[in-house]
């Protein structure tokens, strides 16, 4: 299916948000996920379905500053 991940079009065969993270080798603890402008709760990553045309944003922690 066709997805938009962080603004870029991607074709992935996945069924849940967690599948997307696994495909991309991202530790779910390290990222906040927004699906079509709604934050997805950590506990619901594995039960939140993905459908064709969905937009996903992965927000990684960013610190630093010193």
């Amino acid at each position: 299916m066709q997805l938009t991940i962080n603004g870029k079009p991607e074709t992935l065969e996945v069924s849940t948000v967690l599948d997307v993270l696994k495909t991309k080798d991202i530790d779910p603890q390290l990222v906040a996920v927004e699906l079509n402008t709604q934050m997805v709760e950590q506990e619901q990553l594995g039960t939140t379905s993905i459908k064709d045309g969905d937009r996903l944003e992965f927000l990684f922690f960013m610190g630093g500053g010193v």
Partner: protein
């Protein structure tokens, strides 16, 4: 307070702007901004706000200047190595603009002092390097109903985000809790290209000035991410999270928390995953 002739000349390029004028400049001179961290972000923020004629700048940092800071912490000069960061910053601020009242807080921000300090200022700037402090600042600003301009930098990237309590998404609406300890590279390990601190810091200073003068649209409900490698900004639209433990309708967080952890950033990089 009325401006002297020198001050009118100093701020003339502001006063010329219809959005600022003499009235706006006076507002700036009455504003109090609290900058948490006198490092990579705090330095450019403080420097530009001082130049802009912000009346009171509060600086909190318990560190002393290290040689490794000089690549980006522009208020600290080579002879300052080993000296207090807040004192070093204060000296440069006053050399640039003696009109500024600089309050020095040579301590760490903790759950004990955060609310009392935040309460004394109009706008808060996050210029800290670790997640426990970022969450502490976010929570204290929400509890004291103070606008916060968040900033974060690492490697070639930076992020800015403005939070107006009860009106826009807070940091916890997006990131519920600090990342787990032990999976995060330290700042020293990860590195930072110095100029990114300047880019994000000046965006934070711009946001503070806009908030004080009520100009334009603040960087609320939008996370602005910058990547120096491509010189590209990416804006991620966010909104208040109804399940936010801090600012949601059923908050479970009513007290400040001191998380024990030092961290910089998390990325799905090989290093991070190996460390994790």
């Amino acid at each position: 307070m009325s401006f002297t002739e020198d001050q009118i000349t100093r701020y003339s390029r502001h006063i010329l702007l219809p959005e600022i004028g003499g009235k706006g400049q006076k507002k700036l001179s009455q504003a109090k901004v609290f900058i948490v961290g006198a490092g990579g972000l705090g330095c450019p923020v403080a420097y530009y706000l001082a130049a802009a004629g912000i009346g009171t700048i509060g600086l909190i940092d318990s560190d002393v200047v290290d040689f490794s800071n000089l690549q980006r912490q522009i208020l600290h000069h080579t002879p300052d190595v080993g000296r207090s960061k807040v004192l070093s910053a204060k000296e440069k601020i006053l050399a640039l603009n003696p009109d500024v009242q600089v309050n020095m807080h040579e301590e760490r921000l903790t759950s004990r002092n955060a609310r009392d300090l935040v309460r004394q200022y109009d706008i808060i700037i996050d210029g800290v390097d670790n997640f426990p402090a970022k969450f502490l600042i976010n929570d204290a600003c929400f509890m004291e109903n103070k606008p916060l301009v968040h900033g974060g930098i690492l490697r070639f990237e930076g992020r800015a985000f403005t939070i107006i309590p009860n009106q826009s998404a807070c940091y916890r609406c997006i990131f519920k809790n600090p990342p787990p300890a032990g999976v995060v590279p330290t700042c020293q390990e990860a590195g930072i290209i110095g100029v990114v601190a300047g880019i994000i810091g000046t965006i934070q200073a711009t946001e503070a000035i806009k908030l004080i003068l009520n100009i334009g649209t603040p960087l609320t409900n939008r996370i602005l991410d910058f990547d120096a490698r491509t010189t590209a900004f990416r804006e991620i639209r966010v909104k208040r999270n109804p399940s936010c433990a801090l600012c949601g309708p059923n908050p479970s967080l009513t007290e400040l928390i001191d998380y024990e952890q030092e961290a910089c950033q998390l990325q799905p990089s090989a290093t991070t995953l190996t460390n994790g």
